[in-house]
Symmetry: C2
Subunit: 415 residues, 2 copies
């Protein structure tokens, strides 16, 4: 049984296709979400359907796999059973927990009530609707501009925050200014708040500086070394007392382990991630593995592995190999994460790429590398073709066709 | 001022581009909806973004047009002013009311509470989520099949009902049966209820018979000559006492005039449509026009014009010409609807087409004609390209990439 249809869970399930095991993938949603591109859904560059793929479709040709939609609420390691929120109970012989991470508010008041996360397609559509609806509202009542209608505050200067800020700047500068000729769109603000003294803290200082320049060139206001004290309705208060009036607030400040990790009942590290051995199994339970964002580093050097897709994918494949070894009676090998590099895009023609061999790419070359890699990684030919059409359209026309308010203020069609 | 960004409103606004007038398009949504393809969104063949287009984007290059998002609640013909639900008031010199039609429940109890309409992208997404979520639920608990989990009842055998039934049959037979190998998908039912004794009542009896055969070939159950007495939770009761247990009920039985028509304060016909003169202006108010689904037939022969896109589009263009005539001091010409024919598709390789010269197409030829016409009519190159990608994908793979449950039972990503 595999809990989670994210990058790790799907990689494990696919790698198990040739083994004499029955695979059940359990996920609360009916689709895999390609989270690295959610920021493009939030900025109307892609449709939600472009970055999500039906989980059942992944396994049409894999005979030993089946899918169960449901949210796991409890894991009984002694009885080898999981309980679902719909009351279902499922038995397992081997378990892979790949439940990922959830948005962490770090105890800041108001995050849950007044800020959007960016972990699911629904989150991304909510951000899109909020920004567009505020522009519409300000178009009707320009006084709302003073109340922050055109301001978006993004909390967190990691890749998600940086990419969202860059995409939002392009949405506003290229599209919304043409959509709203009577609105003073120059007064639109994008404020990126980051507690550290540079963005992209996991990258080299040189890449951080490049990203910072690219953001500033696009008009993004950077609040570095500042943290958010509280968020209220249409207001973000920083630790130095600054109050920013903002129609839309996106909380991209960080994630924490899925609370399901605690349900396993084994040791957690201080961030809530599950402590695993070098084979990614939990201590004393060689039949239970934890991978991806939910697993604490098995390296023992205390440095947590980054919570990115490649770690999850490699973990999933490793677990399949470990299960194959168990079936053969061989001892499991130790998991070694091969870091091939990291990348973040700031928008049109701009990205920073750091390869594992120390080489870096930036600007247009980095951007093309970013486009290609994400296109290849997207599941499904149809999604790739649609993404290509949308990207080509966005690039040549500076337009964003997906700027629909579907969840926003819409009237009933019925009288 | 133009109320409504449907086919009629947009056609009028575009045709006014060369006249010395300022055009304001008011619509409750921020996008035009290509309603004839909503059934494909409901059956996971297209994305909502493929069949909707941002209204502001339509007018980027039209200097004399602007857009106001808002729902009109009152029209003051004496003061020439409309009131919006957000409190805004707008003055007009010339008014085109193109507010269209809304779902009519004909007084049947339970329609509003327990059935889905199919007039907006949100409606279509709700139908898609309902069908998919019921299949997931039955996959977990097969007892739900007896309770109608896999049954879809479609009320109304006009083009919308017929096209939806055909699309739903293909979704189930080609895709959902592969998604749910452990489910007895053969027990899935699609029931089409129509009060008349044939489907597609506005077509010739020969086309109706063809459509009926095509539907029956796809396993759709036809209940002709029956009407719905009441709809309760997961239950449809027909006038002969038959009770159908159904997870999803779609009400495509008909539309009525938008109640905004009554707000004009002039004569209505018995279906609520606004009585207009031969120039499409209301009696005594040459500055107020009503077009499309909301306008009663101006022909005077008592036969209402069909509530289809071509009538609205031709009406919109006629009104622009009538306004040009007014500005020139010429008398308005009478509106003449040129019926070029009608078409409905039943699914893959099957459609019925009736041309104005009496010729008919059916089967594959009809289907190709249907595809081409709808592709040409879709606004925007991007939408056309995406639709083409999705249609090609669906056709060659028998897959439906958009089967995501986005509005359905999804948990919070936050702990």
């Amino acid at each position: 049984m595999i809990i989670g249809a994210g990058f790790g869970g799907l990689a494990a399930a696919k790698a198990l296709s040739s083994l004499p095991v029955d695979v059940t993938v359990v996920d609360a949603r009916n689709h895999h979400t390609f989270q690295p591109l959610l920021y493009q859904v939030a900025t109307a560059g892609l449709d939600a359907e472009d970055v999500c793929y039906p989980t059942r479709g992944v396994f049409h040709r894999q005979r030993n796999a089946r899918v169960r939609m449901g949210q796991v609420t409890a894991i009984d390691t002694a009885d080898r059973r999981v309980t679902l929120s719909d009351g279902g109970e499922l038995h397992f012989d081997l378990l892979v927990v790949a439940a990922g991470a959830v948005t962490a508010d770090f105890g800041v008041p108001g995050v849950v009530e007044h800020a959007h996360g960016l972990k699911s397609a629904s989150d991304a559509l909510a951000v899109r609707s909020s920004v567009l609806a505020w522009f519409e509202a300000a178009d009707s009542d320009p006084d709302l501009v003073d109340a922050g209608a055109l301001t978006t505050v993004i909390v967190g200067g990691g890749p998600t925050g940086v990419e969202l800020a860059g995409g939002m700047a392009e949405l506003i500068d290229r599209v919304l200014c043409r959509d709203h000729p009577s609105l003073d769109v120059d007064r639109a603000r994008i404020v990126l708040v980051e507690a550290a003294d540079r963005v992209l803290g996991s990258f080299s200082p040189r890449s951080s500086a490049r990203a910072r320049r690219a953001l500033e060139k696009r008009g993004v206001e950077l609040c570095l070394g500042r943290s958010v004290q509280t968020i209220t309705k249409q207001r973000v208060v920083l630790d130095d007392g600054t109050i920013i009036a903002a129609g839309t607030v996106v909380w991209a400040a960080g994630v924490k382990a899925n609370p399901l990790g605690a349900a396993i009942g084994t040791a957690l590290d201080r961030t809530g991630r599950v402590v695993v051995g070098r084979d990614l199994a939990i201590p004393g339970h060689p039949e239970i593995f934890v991978i991806g964002d939910l697993a604490a580093s098995p390296t023992g050097d205390g440095r947590p592995l980054p919570q990115v897709a490649p770690v999850a994918i490699q973990g999933g494949r490793h677990v399949a190999a470990a299960i194959a070894a168990q079936l053969d009676g061989r001892p499991p090998e130790a998991f070694v994460y091969r870091d091939r590099g990291s990348m973040a895009t700031i928008g049109r023609n701009a990205a920073v790429v750091e390869l594992h061999n120390g080489r870096t790419l930036s600007g247009w070359a980095g951007w093309v590398a970013w486009l290609g890699l994400h296109l290849v990684m997207l599941i499904g030919f149809r999604n790739r073709a649609n993404v290509l059409v949308n990207w080509a359209w966005n690039y040549w026309t500076y337009d964003r066709g997906s700027r629909l308010i579907l969840n926003g203020p819409a009237p009933s069609d019925r009288a």
